[in-house]
C-alpha cells in the first residue's frame, strides 16, 4: 500500500522506471502467485482429473479432460471407504470436543484463579509444545498396549485428547485471562458458583476461540496417519487415511477408483476449511506464533 503511494507521487515520465524498482507491477505479482499456486495444487488437480477416468481413457489421454466422466469410479470405492470415513469423522469430533472440554476447564482455572503452584503447572503443560513428538511414538504405543486400548477407538481418542488439549489450553488461557474481572466479580456477588461462572460467563464469551481450538484439533485428528496405522489393525476401526493407503500401490490396477478414493478422503476437510477458513487461519497462526 505504502509503496504504491510512493510511486504515485513520482512524475509520470519516471513511473515506468519506478515501477521496476518496486519490483513487480500489479500484473506480475498475480502472475508469480498464480504460477506458484498452480504448481502447488497440481497434484490435487491431477487427482481430481484422473478420478473421472476409466483405465482406457487414462492410457489414451492422461493429461486432458475425457468424456464421459466415469462417476462409477466413485460409486465403486464408496463401499470400501464409507466406514473409514465415518471413523475419521468420529475420531475428529471426539478428539476436538474432548480436548476442548478438558482444556477449557483447566484454562479457566489457570487463568482466573490464584493458587500456589499455578505458574509451575501452566509451564508443565505448555512446555509440551516444545517437545519433539517423535520420541513418544514407541513408548506411547507400549502404554496403549499395556492399557488394553490397542485396536480400539480409545487408542486414538484418548491420546488425541491428551495431546490436543495442550494447544487448546494455551490459546484459551490467554483469552480467558483477558476477560474483565468485573464480569466474574458481579456473578460471584450474585452467588454464582465457580462452575456457573465458567459455564455461564467464560464459555459463552469465548465461543469463537473455543471453536477455533476445536477446529484445529479436528483437522489434526482427521489427518493423522502414523499413529492410527500403528495402534489400529482392525478393519472396522481404520480411519480414512490408513484405508486409502491400503488401497493404493496395487500397480497395474485401475487408477481411477484409487484417485476417487483420495478425492473423497480430501473432501470433508476441504469443505470444512472453505466454511471456516477465517477461524482456521487465525488459529493456526496464533498457535504457531505463540510457540
Amino acid at each position: 500500500m505504502t509503496s504504491s503511494m510512493a510511486t504515485s507521487v513520482v512524475p509520470n515520465k519516471r513511473l515506468g522506471a519506478r515501477r521496476w524498482r518496486v519490483g513487480f507491477g500489479e500484473g506480475a505479482k498475480h502472475l508469480v502467485v498464480v504460477f506458484i499456486v498452480l504448481v502447488q495444487l497440481m497434484p490435487l488437480g491431477f487427482m481430481l482429473l484422473i478420478s473421472f477416468k476409466s483405465s482406457a481413457q487414462f492410457l489414451q489421454n492422461p493429461f486432458g479432460l475425457t468424456w464421459p466422466f466415469q462417476l462409477q469410479n466413485y460409486t465403486a470405492v464408496w463401499p470400501l471407504i464409507a466406514r473409514p470415513l465415518f471413523n475419521s469423522v468420529l475420531y475428529g469430533l471426539t478428539t476436538a470436543v474432548g480436548s476442548v472440554m478438558v482444556a477449557s476447564i483447566s484454562a479457566f482455572v489457570l487463568a482466573r484463579y490464584q493458587f500456589p503452584g499455578r505458574e509451575l503447572l501452566y509451564y508443565a503443560i505448555i512446555m509440551l509444545l516444545m517437545i519433539p513428538g517423535i520420541m513418544n511414538l514407541v513408548p506411547a504405543f507400549l502404554i496403549v498396549v499395556r492399557l488394553h486400548l490397542y485396536n480400539t477407538p480409545w487408542a486414538i481418542i484418548l491420546p488425541g485428547v491428551a495431546g490436543g488439549q495442550v494447544m487448546a489450553i494455551f490459546l484459551l488461557r490467554t483469552f480467558f485471562g483477558a476477560l474483565p474481572e468485573d464480569l466474574f466479580e458481579a456473578a460471584r456477588i450474585d452467588g454464582a458458583s465457580m462452575f456457573q461462572t465458567y459455564a455461564k460467563i467464560a464459555l459463552p464469551l469465548s465461543f469463537p476461540i473455543i471453536f477455533t481450538a476445536g477446529l484445529l484439533q479436528f483437522f489434526a485428528a482427521f489427518n493423522d496417519f502414523i499413529w492410527p496405522s500403528v495402534v489400529i489393525t482392525a478393519a472396522q476401526w481404520t480411519p480414512i487415511t490408513v484405508a486409502v493407503d491400503q488401497m493404493s500401490g496395487q500397480y497395474g490396477g485401475p487408477i481411477g477408483p484409487e484417485m476417487a478414493a483420495y478425492t473423497i478422503a480430501s473432501l470433508p476437510l476441504l469443505v470444512l476449511f472453505a466454511l471456516t477458513s477465517r477461524q482456521f487461519i487465525r488459529g493456526m497462526i496464533s498457535g504457531a506464533i505463540k510457540m
Binding site: 510512493a6 490435487l44 483447566s106 517437545i131 520420541m135 495442550v166 476437510l269 477458513s277
Partner: protein, 299 residues
C-alpha cells in the same frame, strides 16, 4: 483474580493432568528406561533384560545410522532454504497486492494443501513416480525423452531426489501466512517513514521488511528444523527407506525396529534408544539455534 479454597481448584485440573501423565509425561520416561533394555515386547523369559548402553552403541556403530543422518539433513535443510525464499516472496507479494480481495483469495488457495490429508498428497506423488503408469514417465515419453524414464522411487540414484522434488514449489502455506501476519502487524507509520526516506522496492524489502519480520522468519526456521528432522512420513509411505537404504532416515529406523522389523520380532530397546537420541538432538539444536539466531538479531 480470585482466591478460592485451593484444594477444589486442583480438583478441576485433574482430567488434564491424568491424561498428560499417561500420554505425555510417562512416554518420554518410559522411552528413556526402555532404551537401556533389550525388549521384544514379549512376556517370556529373555524377552526383556537390562543391556546398559548396548542399544546406543549398536546405533552408533551402524553405518546405516550415519547414512540416515545425511539423508535427513538433506531432506530438512534443502527444502527449508527453498521454502524460506518462496514463503517470504509470497508473503511480500500478498502484502503489497493492491486488491485485498485477490490477496484474500490467494491466501485461501495456498492453505488448501495444508488442509488436505498429507497421505493423499504423498500417494498422488507416489503415483506420479510409478514406473508402470506414473505421469512423470508418461510425460517424458510424450516429450520424446524415453531415455530419461526411470523407476524413480526404486532407483538408488533418484529416490532421494524424488523425495526432495515432491516438495515443489516449496510453499508452506502457514509459513507464508506467518510472515504476512508479521508484516501486517507493523505500524503503517514505519513504512511511511521508510518511504519518505526513499526506501522503496528491493531496498525496502531488504532493509525494512525483512528485519521487521526476523522473529517470524526465525520461527519458520525452527519449526522447519524440528518438523524436518523428525519426519519419516514420505520414506515410510513411498520407499520404506529403500532402495538399499537410499532414503533411510533416523525416524524410519526407529519405526521399523518397533513396528516393521525384518525378523518380525520388535526391537523396542533399539527403537526407544533412537527416539531418545532424536529427542536430545532436536531439542539441543532448537535451543542452540534459538540462542544463535537471537543473538545475531540483537546486533
Amino acid at each position: 483474580m480470585h482466591l478460592l479454597k485451593a484444594r477444589w481448584l486442583y480438583l478441576w485440573l485433574v482430567p488434564t493432568f491424568v491424561l498428560l501423565a499417561i500420554f505425555s509425561y510417562w512416554p518420554p520416561i518410559l522411552s528413556l528406561i526402555t532404551a537401556f533394555y533389550h525388549d521384544t515386547g514379549g512376556t517370556g523369559i529373555g524377552s526383556r533384560y537390562f543391556v546398559g548402553l548396548a542399544n546406543f552403541r549398536y546405533i552408533f556403530s551402524d553405518p546405516t545410522f550415519y547414512l540416515a543422518l545425511i539423508h535427513i539433513a538433506i531432506l530438512t535443510f534443502v527444502p527449508l532454504v527453498l521454502s524460506l525464499f518462496v514463503n517470504i516472496l509470497i508473503a511480500e507479494i500478498l502484502f503489497h497486492m493492491k486488491s485485498r480481495w485477490w490477496a484474500g483469495f490467494y491466501r485461501f488457495l495456498i492453505m488448501v494443501p495444508m488442509v488436505t490429508p498429507a497421505i493423499v498428497g504423498t500417494l498422488v506423488w507416489s503415483f506420479f513416480y510409478s514406473p508402470v503408469d506414473g505421469l512423470l514417465n508418461i510425460l517424458l515419453g510424450d516429450l520424446g525423452l524415453q531415455q530419461y524414464e526411470h523407476a524413480w522411487l526404486a532407483n538408488n540414484h533418484y529416490a532421494l531426489a524424488a523425495l526432495l522434488f515432491m516438495g515443489i514449489p516449496f510453499l508452506w502455506g502457514l509459513g507464508a501466512l506467518i510472515v504476512l501476519a508479521g508484516l501486517q502487524g507493523v505500524p503503517d507509520s514505519v513504512f511511511e517513514a521508510a518511504a519518505l526516506d526513499g526506501a522503496t522496492g528491493w531496498r525496502r524489502i531488504r532493509q525494512i521488511d525483512l528485519p521487521l519480520v526476523s522473529g517470524q522468519i526465525r520461527l519458520l526456521i525452527i519449526i522447519g528444523i524440528i518438523g524436518g528432522l523428525q519426519n519419516f512420513f514420505q520414506p515410510l509411505i513411498m520407499t520404506q527407506g529403500g532402495p538399499d537404504n537410499a532414503t533411510m532416515v533416523p525416524g524410519l529406523m526407529m519405526y521399523q525396529w518397533a513396528f516393521d522389523s525384518g525378523s518380525g520380532i520388535p526391537q523396542y530397546g533399539l527403537a526407544t534408544a533412537m527416539g531418545t537420541l532424536l529427542f536430545v538432538g532436536i531439542l539441543g539444536l532448537t535451543i542452540g539455534l534459538n540462542r544463535f539466531v537471537r543473538s545475531r538479531a540483537d546486533l
